[in-house]
């Protein structure tokens, strides 16, 4: 049994989405040309989420990937809400006032974000009012706080992450009279999600990361080759600093039980995450909320289960690590992806594959015979192989799809093997998760002309 190439393509392309920043007067003044994104599920339903939006009241574009665990509820909520929190954090005082006044007097609200969504990327209608109220409370506090200082992006990102996680926690503690919503906020709080979010404004690129998704910059060297620069640090057991941090936050007595089998408390892979109140709340609070909660929650073994060696919560935080990077003309693209990609591919390969895809050339040196002894047959073999590699580039219209094709279908020689690809994609639902994880990728392409011009101005 083997899928035909068109069948493979229809699976790979089902969730692909592309956005091109519109041009005005034939010019695109944004440092972002556009982005391609795609998802390939392994879980059913998929637990990854993605978001992309343009900030309308400030400059800049937001892009993020979210990897959920213990269900998709938390990732879904974060994908809907986080960008609003960030956007609000970035807003100047006057704009916040204006918005608040508009809400107060029932006038039309200034739009804050313009979303760039795939039709499958849904927003929960039922919870929108609840989410809005929490957000409003946040900006009201910001108005009251009015520091008068200009907003620092790094600080805004950190505040937004922490505030949203706090709201998720609070909403679950308070509960909701609407039983559907009540169950929803609990599911959100008891599941978890990592987040890797990029904010691009001119040459300023900020990446805020919580968890083990990753942001990587694709750089084209002077000789045309591609290299990768990490713009985030994984928050997991492989990161010594992170292990160190966790240990610092808890008494020495817990040192041994904190990280077991490369997992937090022997349970959780990412060391930072949204939700996951089981690693944040005190045992009493957890018990109280679960008991007061609906039956479904009580029947769930996972929610009732208290992690072992649970002495000094919280063990988990949603606070992101923020990396700032000044974009240069040689920075051609940014890849945001969940760990499903990074488990299968080295970032150097990712940089090369995307780079070659975007420039539509294989930066293999053009062949020159020079003084070498080459026969027609040898040359023919070489050219045929090069042609085969190039043709796989042109199959995809979307850089993220192209990357997924390689991630899933690559053989040991680094070329896409159709048979392998077909097998991996036709795995039954229950087996799929054993061979691969959900993969979510956003590839942002930068506008080197604009970046070069910005640099010169500075």
């Amino acid at each position: 049994f083997c899928l035909t190439p068109p069948q493979v393509n229809s699976i790979l392309k089902a969730n692909e989405y592309s956005f091109k920043v519109p041009e005005f007067d034939g010019k695109n003044v944004s440092s972002v040309l556009g982005f391609d994104s795609n998802q390939l599920p392994a879980n059913a339903p998929i637990e990854d989420r993605r978001s992309a939006a343009t900030c309308l009241q400030t400059r800049g574009m937001l892009l993020g990937v979210f990897d959920g665990h213990a269900g998709c509820a938390c990732a879904q909520a974060v994908s809907e809400r986080l960008f609003y929190y960030i956007a609000v954090s970035l807003l100047p005082h006057e704009t916040l006032l204006e918005i608040e006044n508009a809400v107060e007097s029932g006038r039309a609200l200034l739009p804050i974000l313009q979303w760039h969504k795939h039709p499958n990327d849904y927003f929960s209608k039922e919870a929108s009012k609840l989410y809005f109220n929490s957000l409003r409370t946040y900006w009201q506090e910001l108005i009251d706080l009015n520091s008068g200082e200009t907003t620092d992006v790094k600080e805004a990102l950190i505040n937004a992450f922490k505030r949203l996680d706090n709201d998720i926690s609070l909403e679950a503690q308070v509960g909701n009279p609407n039983s559907f919503l009540n169950y929803l906020v609990l599911r959100v709080a008891f599941s978890g999600a990592t987040a890797c979010v990029a904010h691009v404004d001119g040459v300023d690129l900020h990446v805020a990361n919580t968890g083990d998704s990753r942001a990587m910059l694709g750089v084209q060297e002077e000789d045309g080759s591609w290299s990768a620069v990490n713009l985030s640090y994984d928050h997991n057991a492989q990161n010594e600093h992170e292990v160190e941090r966790v240990k610092m936050e808890h008494p020495k007595s817990e040192e041994k039980s904190l990280v077991k089998q490369d997992r937090l408390l022997g349970l959780l892979m990412p060391f930072r995450a949204f939700g996951d109140v089981k690693f944040k709340w005190s045992i009493e609070l957890q018990k109280r909320v679960v008991e007061a909660g609906p039956d479904q929650l009580n029947d769930n073994e996972y929610t009732k289960f208290i992690p072992p060696n649970y002495h000094t919560p919280p063990y988990l935080t949603a606070e992101p690590e923020v990396v700032h990077h000044k974009l240069r003309p040689q920075d051609k693209f940014l890849v945001l992806a969940t760990d499903g990609l990074w488990e299968t591919m080295h970032r150097q390969d990712v940089a090369r594959i995307v780079g070659e895809y975007l420039t539509r050339v294989h930066r293999q040196q053009p062949i020159a015979v020079g003084g070498y002894k080459v026969t027609l047959g040898q040359m023919h073999g070489l050219l045929t192989e090069r042609k085969a590699r190039i043709s796989s580039v042109f199959e995809d219209q979307n850089a993220a799809t192209h990357l997924i094709r390689h991630a899933v279908g690559n053989n040991e020689f680094g070329t896409v093997d159709h048979e392998r690809l077909s097998k991996m994609l036709s795995l039954p639902e229950e087996l799929a998760r054993m061979y691969r994880d959900d993969i979510t990728i956003i590839v942002v392409q930068f506008n080197s002309h604009v970046i070069g011009a910005c640099q010169n101005e500075e």
């Binding site: 053009p366 062949i367 027609l376 040359m379 023919h380 090069r386």
Partner: protein, 882 residues
């Protein structure tokens, strides 16, 4: 690699042989290109300055000096034969589709063959022969067509089987072949050496050659060449010849008033290998595998193989001047399909070692034919360029024809297909050229099928009705940039897609055109014919009439409102143009010519009409939309729309009236249809076009009106034996030869151009005769269709070629038009062709090697024009065989 090329192509031995120009310019012992002083200064004046020292420039110099012109200067910006000529693959091939190209190649071959003897310069000429392979039946048909042409030209050529191919060439894989064409006389040369040999001979004849001298621009005064400006000073001259190859376009644009020479360069690749273990013989035939898009010739014991890929790489679009073509980059990935084709054709070459992949730009033109002739706007400015990679094959012949053109005023053959004046400014957009040459280059090896239309550079000139017609299923072709309707696909009917439409047999539109023809015969059709060239010529006094009477053979001193069909003849009585002229008033005339006459006719008249301001001529082509109302019911439609009597009694044939049609006033209506059918041409100011078209279609409904296209028109005109200029008529055809004596008024009371020649013909008879052939044993459904250019045989002997053909739906037979000559059986001398000679022969037409019997007819033309049919008569009689 550069060293290799020195060895290969610029052989030092014959450099030292003598040439005078060596001494005139710098002596160069080394190849260093640092500027050395030029010992001999440029002359202050010359009769002719030729720019370009490649095969074209040297060939023109050679032939001009042979014809007795001595005061010639040839300027080369780098070194002689250092451009495309140096890189040329050196294949002299006579297998050409167009008969004028075939003649040029044949002449070149014969010239090169004796050149070494004539000049003492080694040319590397080897008669290897060539074999063109066919992988498909269609290709075989195409080759057979060429074989027929070659044979009647006296060029040896035979069709051979794959097995025979294997006997000619040891390496060829023949398992996928269906046949081949063998041309034993084809040859190989070193093209740079040929060019240098021509230069040597020209130099001995007195031509001054200056290398490292570049022309910056050409000076023009009052529409005439006065001199050239070079980086080494000025030369005054009467004639300038632009042989700058791929720089010809840029040179044309360097002057104050840019002139347009539409060509564009593309990269062209070929492969050189080391010798085989057992080196290939130097007389091994050249292999052309058009289905594999490659050619393969022997080269120094190894092979040279290149081709014309499907995805060419145009270059120098933005223009870039450079002295010599630097070694452009090799692009192996681009060459991959051609290499695959090569190894498929000759699998044993796998082990052969590569020497180099050569990248050499070639220039291509918008219609795959070269560019030759005098500029329409500048007298004395000649061009020879755009060889579409066949420079070495055409070099000799093209140089000869251009030299004849300059010396005698016109070449000895009809070169209209190559004439620069077939192009206008519209083909000179760089974007157009870039896109078009990308289509043209692959076409070199594509199947040449009848009625091929270019797909690029379209929708440039359109009628205001374009969208309306397109929405009604129009399928389009292009003439001189103008979109014209071929036919209308009825709703719900799908035709084959583009690739499948390539056929030598009955095309898929057969029934569609048939029904359009039927409607023209029985009811009424409307054809948008806006592309025709339209001039208005007027004066305050009699100057217009007098001038036109001199330039046209028919009598134009007719009452106002009459339309006259007349030829615009040259001194030899040949047709420079064939047109219809309406006398609008005593002193103004409206002239309608074929679409592609826009530049040629304008230049011809401009150079001959008085330019003292007494007479004005205006090109009004764009001002009018022309609708042709064809059919017996046209009269009803028009009379209902105009409330004027338009029956033959009131509006007989060949009249012109300004009328109102619908709300629109001032529509110029002529009772001609260009087909011999009853009907009217409506010349409509463009802003009324849509209105008039709508009115005509609405009113016509009750008479069964429908749209029709040019294919229907062609069928109608050919079955009525109407000759078209550019297809049947050319500068070498006189009215006497095509039965149009009645359009010549030898006694009109004043002299006119061509009169003497016609008088002589009238007395002595003609040497060729336009004849109509009706194919007898030809099955339209299963046999190959005639096209044009098919040889005509009379009693088994070749007597001429067809010029056009069409299926006559009325007769249910194919009709070919063509010229019959009479060659003396023993001497081959041309004899007078009499009516008896025509009528007493048994004729056959050769379509791709297969001969079909044909009946010859010489119709009396006049009967069609003087018909004044009455409406009821037409309805009753229908079409009558005559």
């Amino acid at each position: 690699a550069a060293g290799m090329f020195l060895r290969l192509l610029s052989d030092v031995r014959w450099r030292a042989a003598d040439p005078k120009w060596r001494r005139m310019t710098c002596s160069r012992r080394s190849t260093s290109s640092t500027a050395e002083p030029h010992p001999v200064s440029l002359p202050a004046q010359a009769q002719v300055v030729i720019c370009g020292g490649g095969i074209m420039g040297t060939s023109v110099a050679y032939h001009l000096s042979k014809m007795g012109w001595k005061d010639i200067v040839l300027l080369e910006q780098g070194r002689l034969a250092a451009g495309t000529t140096r890189f040329c693959a050196g294949i002299v091939s006579t297998a050409r589709h167009l008969s004028i190209e075939l003649k040029m190649a044949d002449y070149s071959n014969k010239l090169y063959q004796q050149l070494e003897q004539e000049t003492g310069v080694k040319t590397g000429y080897v008669k290897t022969g060539s074999i063109s392979l066919a992988q498909t039946q269609d290709r075989l048909i195409s080759l057979k067509r060429i074989a027929s042409s070659l044979n009647v030209m006296g060029i040896p050529c035979e069709m051979i089987t794959p097995k025979q191919v294997a006997q000619f060439h040891p390496l060829i894989n023949i398992h996928d072949l269906v046949g081949a064409m063998y041309v034993p006389e084809d040859a190989l040369v070193s093209s740079a050496s040929v060019s240098l040999a021509l230069a040597t001979a020209a130099s001995r004849n007195g031509v001054q050659i200056h290398e490292r001298t570049s022309v910056s621009h050409v000076s023009v005064q009052n529409g005439c060449v006065t001199g050239v400006e070079t980086d080494r000073g000025q030369i005054q001259c009467q004639y300038f010849v632009n042989c700058a190859g791929q720089w010809a376009y840029e040179l044309g644009h360097s002057g104050k008033e840019p002139v347009n020479i539409p060509l564009h360069a593309c990269e062209h690749f070929y492969l050189l290998t080391h010798p085989l273990k057992e080196p290939l013989a130097s007389n091994l035939p050249t292999i052309v595998d058009p289905d594999g898009r490659i050619y393969i010739r022997n080269w120094q014991g190894g092979i040279l193989s290149g081709g014309f890929e499907k995805n060419p790489k145009p270059l120098f679009t933005e223009g870039r001047n450079q002295l010599e073509i630097q070694n452009l980059r090799e692009d192996w990935d681009h060459f991959e399909p051609l290499l695959s084709a090569l190894l498929r054709r000759m699998p044993d070459l796998e082990a052969l070692q590569i020497m180099q992949l050569v990248n050499c730009p070639e220039s291509f033109t918008p219609d795959m034919r070269c560019i030759m002739g005098e500029l329409p706007t500048v007298l004395g400015y000649f061009v020879l360029a755009g060889m579409n990679s066949a420079g070495i094959s055409y070099g000799g012949g093209a140089g000869k024809y251009l030299a004849e053109w300059m010396v005698n005023g016109y070449p000895s053959e009809n070169v209209w297909p190559l004439d620069l004046k077939r192009f206008g400014t519209l083909q000179s957009s760089r974007t157009f050229l870039r896109h078009r040459v990308m289509e043209v280059m692959p076409l070199m090896y594509d199947l040449k099928v009848p009625r091929w239309d270019f797909q690029t550079g379209r929708q440039l000139r359109t009628s205001p009705l374009y969208d309306r017609l397109d929405a009604q299923g129009a399928r389009w072709m292009e003439k001189h940039g103008f979109e014209r309707v071929k036919y209308f696909v009825p709703p719900g009917k799908d035709l084959l897609d583009l690739d499948q439409r390539k056929t030598f047999y009955k095309p898929d539109w057969f029934d569609i055109v048939g029904s359009e023809v039927k409607c023209c015969k029985e009811a009424v059709c409307v054809i948008d014919m806006s592309s025709f060239t339209k001039f208005e010529i007027s004066s305050t006094g009699d100057q217009a009439l007098e001038s036109l009477q001199y330039l046209f053979s028919n009598d134009l001193d007719v009452p106002v409102g009459h339309v006259v069909h007349t030829g615009m003849l040259n001194e030899k009585g040949g047709y420079e143009n064939d047109c219809s002229i309406a006398r609008l008033s005593k002193c103004s005339f409206f002239m309608i010519s074929p679409t592609d006459q826009q530049v040629h006719c304008w230049a011809w008249l401009k150079n001959r009409l008085p330019n003292d301001g007494s007479l004005t001529m205006e090109d009004v082509t764009w001002k009018y939309t022309a609708l042709n109302l064809i059919g017996p019911r046209a009269v009803d439609v028009l009379s209902e729309l105009s409330y004027a009597p338009v029956t033959p009694e009131h509006f007989p044939s060949l009249f012109c009236k300004d009328m109102s049609v619908g709300y629109a006033n001032g529509i110029r209506v002529m009772s001609i249809t260009h087909t011999g059918e009853p009907g009217f041409m409506l010349y409509i100011p463009i802003e009324y076009a849509l209105h008039v078209y709508n009115e005509v279609m609405n009113m016509g409904q009750k008479y069964g009106i429908r749209n029709a296209g040019y294919y229907a028109l062609r069928s109608l005109r050919i079955e009525k034996f109407f000759a078209f200029w550019g297809q049947d008529l050319d500068a070498f055809t006189t009215p006497m030869e095509c039965g149009r004596e009645f359009q010549v008024k030898l006694e009109k009371g004043m002299q006119f151009v061509g009169q003497e020649a016609l008088l002589e013909q009238k007395q002595n008879g003609v040497y060729k005769r336009f004849t109509m052939f009706i194919l007898e044993d030809h099955d339209t459904d299963v046999d190959l269709w005639p096209w044009w250019g098919e040889p005509i045989f009379r009693n088994g002997r070749y007597v001429g070629k067809t010029t056009s053909s069409a299926y006559s739906y009325t007769l249910g037979r194919h009709i070919c038009l063509g010229f019959v000559q009479h060659f003396d059986e023993k001497t081959g001398e041309e004899l007078v062709v009499t009516t008896d000679f025509i009528n007493q022969g048994k004729y056959e037409i050769d379509i791709s090697g297969q001969r079909f019997q044909a009946k010859a007819k010489l119709y009396p033309f006049s009967s069609f024009f003087t018909h004044r049919r009455r409406k009821d008569e037409v309805e009753l009689s229908g079409y009558q065989r005559e």
